[in-house]
């Protein structure tokens, strides 16, 4: 089955900037390799850690006899990728290698015992690793209040990571065993949030099912496509959370859907119904186990897509419904996490486009310094009517195996390596491999 590419005029959205270079030549590869070695060398130099140790506690201050306390901290990440083309997931480059510096500065403040505020500023080459110029962003910020001394109930307002799922609390470079996100948080579907899909043929074309031979469009369109969850989904809104015995409940209203890209996380919706409601119910039978069930529902098209809607439809007819289950376990040197999501993109005129995605991840610490993690990721796409009397999957089924050793040089520095084997049905390259190296300095 082959469909002609139906690419509408690109919407008014800033596309990702690509380097414009041809695939890396030998000299370029050497330079990248040098960068990799520099990363390793630098990390070795930092083993002394004297300077980093001297930073301990310096970035903290207090006032009113300790009732107001402010502390700054941060991480400096250096990442290097060797990747196939088209580049996988949320890596945006047309080159086969990419080097990313990233400075993240966190500010945490407590005002008495009932108010807590936090903010995160980043300087990097885009929220997701890309070949863009370096820029500064304020990624998340929020004010949280705990009205009672006993805790158990909190209210939070601002721009912050979603309460859906269980990956967000560990997505930072220091605590995440891997460098890239699990598949549900980064595998791009054929859905765009800038333009409404008008027909199954259009959706197949956007999903590149089947792939167009030697077409550069797949890489170029990457910035238009969305995953089930876009990383930690730092949307703007409010959240409430409570704990009753072994049950945790959290709910949020956000301005964007889970799949929305970082460019709209700051946009405020003009109507409540344009926002997304989500939540998670967790159950902890004991401290080692944690079970959760999540749900999220809201329109996935951005406001600028209004003029692309099917006649007679509204933007909130194009909804993303996400159901998720998560399980985690930690005991002694083992940590295990698993999440499964089903996401339904409602497309008037086409139907429901469902996709299923999940992962199983395990990490083992061999001591205070060395750990090893592995992660099995899987994503399926349901079939939709193809408009020609048959049915076809609207995306490429994918599995990916991630392997990741990590070594902590001390209290402030860590090196992680990740190697990923990916199989993508009907892709230009069915089997691909991605290697990433990350050095993190925490202060």
């Amino acid at each position: 089955m082959a469909f002609p590419l139906l690419i509408p005029k690109l919407p008014n959205r800033t596309p990702m900037q690509f380097s414009g270079k041809t695939p890396a030549c030998f000299g370029s590869q050497v330079r990248r390799l040098g960068a990799l070695l520099a990363v390793i060398g630098l990390s070795g130099g930092l083993r002394a850690q004297g300077f980093l140790d001297s930073m301990d506690g310096v970035l903290a201050t207090d006032a009113l006899q300790g009732q107001v306390r402010v502390q700054a901290s941060g991480t400096l990440d250096l990442e290097a990728y060797h990747l196939p083309q088209p580049s996988p997931g949320l890596l945006f480059t047309d080159s086969r290698s990419l080097v990313i510096p990233r400075l993240s500065v966190y500010v945490d403040a407590e005002f008495g015992r009932r108010l807590y505020a936090f903010a995160q500023m980043r300087i990097d080459r885009g929220f997701d690793p890309s070949a863009q110029p370096v820029r500064v962003r304020l990624d998340d910020y929020a004010l949280r209040t705990t009205p009672t001394d006993r805790g158990g109930f909190t209210l939070q307002v601002g721009r912050f990571g979603t309460v859906v799922g269980s990956w967000v609390p560990r997505h930072g470079s220091w605590s995440n065993p891997f460098i890239t996100a699990p598949l549900p948080y980064e595998a791009l579907t054929g859905i765009w949030d800038t333009t409404a899909v008008r027909s199954p043929r259009q959706l197949f074309a956007w999903a590149h099912v089947p792939p167009a031979t030697n077409s550069p469009t797949e890489q170029q369109e990457k910035s238009l496509r969305v995953p089930i969850l876009w990383g930690p989904s730092y949307g703007t809104g409010l959240a409430v959370a409570g704990r009753l015995g072994k049950i945790d409940v959290s709910a949020e209203w956000k301005n964007t859907s889970l799949s929305s890209d970082p460019g709209v996380w700051d946009d405020l919706p003009t109507r409540w119904r344009d926002g997304t409601i989500g939540g998670r119910v967790g159950y902890r039978p004991d401290a080692a186990w944690n079970f959760g069930f999540s749900v999220s529902d809201g329109p996935y098209l951005r406001a600028s897509a209004e003029n692309t809607l099917l006649p007679g439809t509204r933007r909130d007819d194009y909804r993303q419904l996400v159901l998720g289950q998560d399980i985690s376990f930690a005991w002694h040197h083992w940590q295990v996490w698993s999440e499964v999501f089903v996401s339904r993109f409602g497309i008037p005129g086409v139907g429901s486009a469902d996709t299923y995605s999940g992962y199983l991840e395990a990490s083992y610490r061999f001591g205070p310094r060395f750990s090893f993690a592995s992660r099995w990721n899987r994503q399926y796409y349901a079939s939709i009517p193809d408009g020609a009397g048959g049915d076809a999957a609207w995306g490429r089924s994918t599995w990916r195996l991630d392997l990741g050793p990590a070594y902590r040089l001390g209290a402030h520095t860590q090196i992680k390596l990740q190697h990923s084997f990916q199989h993508e049905t009907n892709a230009p390259q069915v089997h691909t491999q991605t290697t990433a190296l990350q050095m993190t300095v925490r202060f």
Partner: protein, 252 residues
């Protein structure tokens, strides 16, 4: 002449008494009292005062931005409870206290059977935050909180990582067989820091909040008296302990 080892007063609840029949223990205790009490007046002691740095007022800030249900650790507002503050790479107790210990030239033999000490994980803290033990002591780290804790140390003396432990679970006790400062941390809670100061002598004591100390019942001889104030400050002075009487030593 018989002498009594000076037990670490502040951490005495953390030392376990040997198990045995109560009757025998009582009888033994009576004999010890009868033998020792008449000689106490003749025992030598060292006492004095250590000048301590000012109290730090601020507790660490919680950093739980992605755990919406988290709240401040209970100790955040408690100005009197001892905690460990790490500043400019220097770990020190707060409110400030010091540890005074007496090293004999040539050393003293280690206990034949390693004693057992205890550093608990409670209210998202190590309790006591500063534990002083003689070299060769087993230390256990029970988790008395409702959630998971981990225990690890990257000390160059003997790094170990005990992993994550459930509430009321006690990881295997660790033999601290090297003198020095062992910094304990929890991988789950960044703010948790505990110090175990392992000293090569049974004669040690923790000062009070004013810096006052007294090391009683010391055998006569030539010693080095040391005071530990923080991870980068240890002062030492040679002293001679007479057969009886009290030697006064103040530390700046």
């Amino acid at each position: 002449m018989r002498f009594r080892k000076s037990a670490p007063r502040a951490s005495s609840p953390c030392l376990r008494a040997p198990k045995g029949g109560r009757g025998w223990a009582a009888l033994g205790g009576l004999l010890v009292v009868l033998l020792i009490v008449p000689r106490l007046g003749a025992a030598a002691a060292i006492e004095g005062k250590v000048t301590l740095p000012p109290v730090r007022t601020a507790a660490p800030v919680q950093r739980n931005r992605y755990d919406i249900l988290s709240s401040s650790p209970k100790a955040a507002d408690d100005r009197n409870e001892l905690s460990i503050v790490v500043r400019r790479g220097v770990a020190a107790p707060n409110p400030p206290v010091a540890v005074v210990y007496l090293e004999r030239e040539g050393g003293v033999p280690r206990p034949a059977r390693p004693p057992l000490a205890r550093m608990e994980q409670r209210d998202q803290k190590f309790v006591p935050a500063l534990l002083v033990v003689q070299v060769g002591t087993n230390v256990e780290f029970p988790n008395l909180d409702q959630g998971l804790h981990s225990v690890f140390t990257r000390t160059s003396l003997k790094p170990f990582d005990l992993g994550r432990y459930r509430p009321n679970e006690t990881p295997p006790a660790q033999l601290l067989d090297q003198p020095g400062l062992w910094t304990m941390r929890c991988d789950i809670h960044d703010n948790m820091v505990g110090l175990v100061l392992v000293v090569p002598t049974p004669y040690f004591v923790q000062t009070d909040r004013e810096g006052r100390f007294r090391l009683p019942d010391l055998p006569p001889g030539r010693y080095t008296l040391s005071v530990w104030k923080s991870s980068d400050t240890t002062l030492s002075v040679p002293v001679t302990v007479p057969a009886e009487g009290t030697v006064k030593v103040d530390f700046p």
